[in-house]
Each structure stands twice: as C-alpha cells, then as structure tokens.
Amino acid sequence: MSNAQQNDHYVAPYDAGVSFDELPDSAPSSRYSPSWTGWLGISVVSFWVFIAILGPYIAPLGENDLPFPDDYSEFQMPRPGAWLGTDESDRDVLSRLMFGAGRTIGISFAATLLAYFIGVVMGIGAAISTPRVDMIVSRINDAFLSLPTIMLGLVVVAAVGSSIPVLIVTAGVIYATVVFRLARALGQEIMVMDFVEAARVRGEGRWWIITREIWPNAAMPLMTDFGLRLIYVILFISSLSFLGLGVQPPQADWGSMVRENLGALSYGASVIPVLAPALAIATLTVGINLIVDDISAHSGGKLSKRL
C-alpha cells in the first residue's frame, strides 16, 4: 500500500490540527532528571501511593469506627483520638481518608490500565488494518467520544447500579476512546515512516512491525499521556462518587467523603471533613500533572500543550 492511499481514507477533521504534535521533537535522552517541580510532584504522588497501599494497616481506627462512641461528636474539631476531627456520622476523618486513598487511587489506576489495554490494542489495530475497517471503528469511537463522559457514566450507573467493578469497567471503556484516538494517530504517523516501510519491504510480519518498529516509538508519548489520562479518570471517579453514584457508603472514598460531609459547610463546627478529601484529590492530581509536565518538557514533547 502506498503512502498516498493511506492518507486518503477518512480522518476526523480535528485530527488535522493535532497530527504531528504527538511525537517528541527530539529523541528522548536516556536519563530523566526531574526539576524541582518534578521532584515536588514525585514526592506528593509517592506519599499518596504509600498511604494507598498501607493506609488500612496504619490507620488509627477502622473506616466505620467511632473515636468517641459515648459522645455525640458530629463534625468535631481535631483533638487527641481523632487528629482530623470527626465526620457527619461521628467517624474518624483521618482513618476514612486513609482507607479511601486505596479505593480512589486503586479504582482509577485499574480503570486507566484497562483504558490503555483496550485503546492501544484497538488503536494500533485500526492503524494497521484496511481503511474500511479503520473507518468503521473510528466512526463508532467518535460517536462515543462526542458524549460528555459524566453523562455516559450516569447512564451506565443508572442501568446496572454502582459497584467497584462497574466503576472500573465504565471508566476504562469511556477513556479507552481517547486512548484509541491517540494510539491510532501515533500508529498512523509511525506507519508511514521510512524505517517501517523498510521493515515491510524486508518482509517482516505484522507482529514484528508492531512490537519492534511501532511500539518503541509510540511508548514515550503514550506513557506521558497515561499520566494525563490517570488524572482525568481520578476526577471522573471522584465526581461520580461525589454525586452519590460511585463508591457506595459505608465504604469510604475521597469523592463520597466530600459529599457526605457537605453539611459541615453550613452548620458544622469543623470544615476539615470536606476540605481534607478535596485537598487529597487536588494534591494527587496536581502532583501527577507536575510530573507529566516535567517529563514532557524534558523529552522535548509538546504534550503539555494539550492539557
């Protein structure tokens, strides 16, 4: 197949604007040395990952235990026994925050992995398949992409109810559409490059071309994009939980903690039950963003422009 033919078949109009921006301007150098914003991001994210993994073991109380069982202690200010105060059901905010970390980060990470698995397989598959197949798959993908993600989430949750596996699959499938576009665009750009032509002319098989020619070149932009996608998935899952349609009580997760304790803003003694989980999400996502920005600036890419 000639290059001209490959470029002939339908490409969504907005593709024209983004096309060659995805590839880094220069070859990535082998060692990445973070700037101070990069280090800041890395330390914040490592802190939360640490809490996410060990939280349930080091939390002072269980996620639904009451620090002051004999006391009417809604929205208490911090004091010994409950270092971040208590929430609207008198539970310990610090412990719930630590239990919630694992759930928020775990669900988001699993969903992003799933999105990448589906998106990359389908995207690179579409890029190397015949124009007709590519067009059909892309059009279906564009239809889903043109919906607000939160609406898709609402419809799915309304239909099948909310549970952790449902959340992971829903977020995974929704965000796979974005990964698909990126992987396909990357695949197409790399497919028409001379070294791929050369491999083809040498008579290499499809599998060889994908694993040895396309993947090494697509890996870097895809990995930076993974960070961005993870941010959006965290925000998506937290928003759903905040709306009461994500992780269900009494299980703690950061988004639902904000929702449960909204009352604190109008008549509570302490606003920490709302502020703490919101701040946790914000520091985590901003931290990831700082790392992504730093890496893409370092590798000379223009990915940061797209956020």
Partner: protein, 316 residues
C-alpha cells in the same frame, strides 16, 4: 469550504442520532419493568399490562425508539416515572437557574481568561507568564469541588459574605440580586474554565506568533503590540473560538458537580435524582438535552477550526 461545513454538519447529525441510540438503548437495559416500578408491587397483572400499553412498552423496541425520537423533536419529553409529572413541567422552573449560571460564567469567565491568556502570550517567559502557567497547570487538574470548597472557605468563613448553600427562591429578583445569589457557583465555574482557557488561548496565540509572516514583521521592526493586535490576533481568532467552544462543552460536567455542591435546583440536580430513583424517562430526556448542547458546541468548535485554517478550507 461550504461543502466541508455541510459535511461536518452531516457528521454532526449522524452523531446526534448515534447519541440518541446510545441513550435510548442504554436506559433500556435498566433492570425492572417501568410499569411495575410506577405502579408498585401490589399492582395486578392486568393493571401492569394496561399501563405498559399506555406507555407503549408492548411495542417492539424500534417502534418505541422512533416514537420517543419523534416526541423529543416535538418537545414532548414524556412523563416522569417517579412523580407522574410531565418532564417539561419539571424542567420549566429549573432550566432558568442552569442557563443563567452557565451563561453568566461564559460572559464573565471567557473574556477575563482570554485577556489573561493573550497577555501571557504577549510576554512569554516573564514572571507574569510563568506564574499564570503554574497556577493554571495546578488548577486544571483540581476537581470542581476543591475549587468550590476553597471559595466557600474564603468568602463564607474568612470574609463572612455569602452562603455555603444557595438558598431561597429566585422569584422576582433583579439581575444584580441574581448574580449575588449565584455568586459562588458562578465564580467556581469561572475558575474551572479559566485554567483551560488561559493555557489554550496562550498556546493558540504563541502558535501563530511562530509563523513566518510574524517573523517577517519582527524583522521589519514592527512593535510587538502592533504585531499581536494587527497581525497575530486576527489569525488566532479561529483557534480561540475553537478553544472557547470546547471549554463551554466541558462546562456540562462542571455544572453537574457545582449544582450538587451548592444544592440549588437546576437541570443537573434533576438528572442525578433521576439516576437515583431510576426514572429512565427523565434520564432519557435530560440526557439528550445535555448531550445535544455538548455536540452542538463541539460542532461550533470544529467549524471554527475549519473556517480559520486556509489549508483546511482549500484542501489539496
């Protein structure tokens, strides 16, 4: 160009049809029978059957879908399962709040963000530019309810103005009273769109600034301000309209979270209630309204990108 735009409109129409299919059949897989839910457990099978016939649920799916689509286009969104009130009546007193807050966010947030973004592009690399970039990088990744919480803490707890919950009726209030009433939700949404808009408008202007004819102007010694306003900005209008439309489309998500956060009655709180009560007729109607708004804004964004790009207008 006309052909390209017509083609894009055609694609938009197909997308709308696809969207309606997804929403209709997405809600069709809801467990439980609508008639049974509506009439309760004690209903006799005859009653349920009669009610199903009234809702048209005994028809094949394809007929149901076509009837629903036809009714939607005529402005009939059906009757709510949970409250037995026509959806249009439920929406009537709520849509004003949602439209008012979104419109005002656009009217206030867009010009300010564009001005900030273009200023940053005028003086790239300065302290102003770098601070603004750092702030918008941070804000863009923060959830809406975090921004909202910070604003509530600042205004309600520190400065002692406003209310954490938007309370009271909007009946008979003047424009300025309404703005004061919705000040916190509007400010939150302004921050949400500002972070994206500032970065993207800055990038759009800088992109134009790196083109050869601008270099030519610089070499001729044209002052920087004149280059921006006379040369660069005119060519950046297309991308900027594109960016504005995209960000207004993102507002759809922001509006949902912000309405629930501040607890006032709008379309978004209604659809969340619909999901909780499994009122699928309500979800279908409102879901279509939200998705249509989104698709139309995306369409405007694409057409703006077309109209502004000579290479797209005259393809080889």
């Amino acid at each position: 160009m006309t052909i390209l735009i017509l083609k894009r409109l055609g694609i938009g129409l197909v997308t709308v049809l696809a969207v309606s299919l997804i929403i209709f059949f997405g809600t069709k897989i809801l467990p439980g029978d609508a008639a049974q839910i509506r009439l309760g457990q004690s209903a006799t099978p005859e009653n349920v059957a009669a009610f199903r016939a009234r809702l048209g649920l005994d028809q094949p799916y394809i007929i149901q879908y076509l009837t629903w689509l036809k009714n939607f286009m005529q402005g009939d969104l059906g009757t709510s399962l949970a409250s037995d009130v026509p959806i249009t009546d439920l929406i009537a007193d709520r849509y004003k709040n949602t439209v008012f807050v979104s419109a005002l966010t656009a009217a206030i947030g867009v010009p300010i963000s564009l001005a900030l973004g273009i200023m940053a592009a005028m003086y790239p690399g300065t302290v102003y530019d770098r601070t603004l970039t750092l702030v918008s990088v941070s804000l863009v990744a923060a959830p809406e309810f975090f921004t909202a919480t910070l604003l509530v803490l600042l205004f309600v707890f520190v400065l002692g103005i406003g209310n954490a919950i938007v309370v009271g009726s909007t009946e008979g209030k003047g424009l300025f009273e309404l703005i004061a009433h919705f000040a916190l939700p509007i400010t939150t949404l302004c921050f949400v769109i500002a972070s994206q808009l500032i970065r993207m408008s800055r990038a759009a202007v800088l992109n134009v600034m790196s083109s050869p004819y601008i270099e030519m102007a610089i070499l001729k010694g044209v002052p920087r301000k004149r280059i921006i306003f006379r040369h660069a900005l005119l060519n950046a209008i297309g991308p900027i309209v594109n960016v504005v439309a995209l960000n207004l489309a993102y507002l759809v998500t922001g509006v949902i979270v912000v309405e629930v956060y501040f607890g006032y009655n709008g379309l978004a709180t209604l659809i969340v209630q619909g999901v909780q009560t499994r009122d699928y007729i309500l979800i279908q109607g409102l879901g279509m309204i939200f998705c249509l708004t989104y698709v139309i804004l995306m369409l405007i964004a694409d057409i703006a990108a077309y109209a502004s790009n000579a290479r797209l207008r005259h393809p080889k």
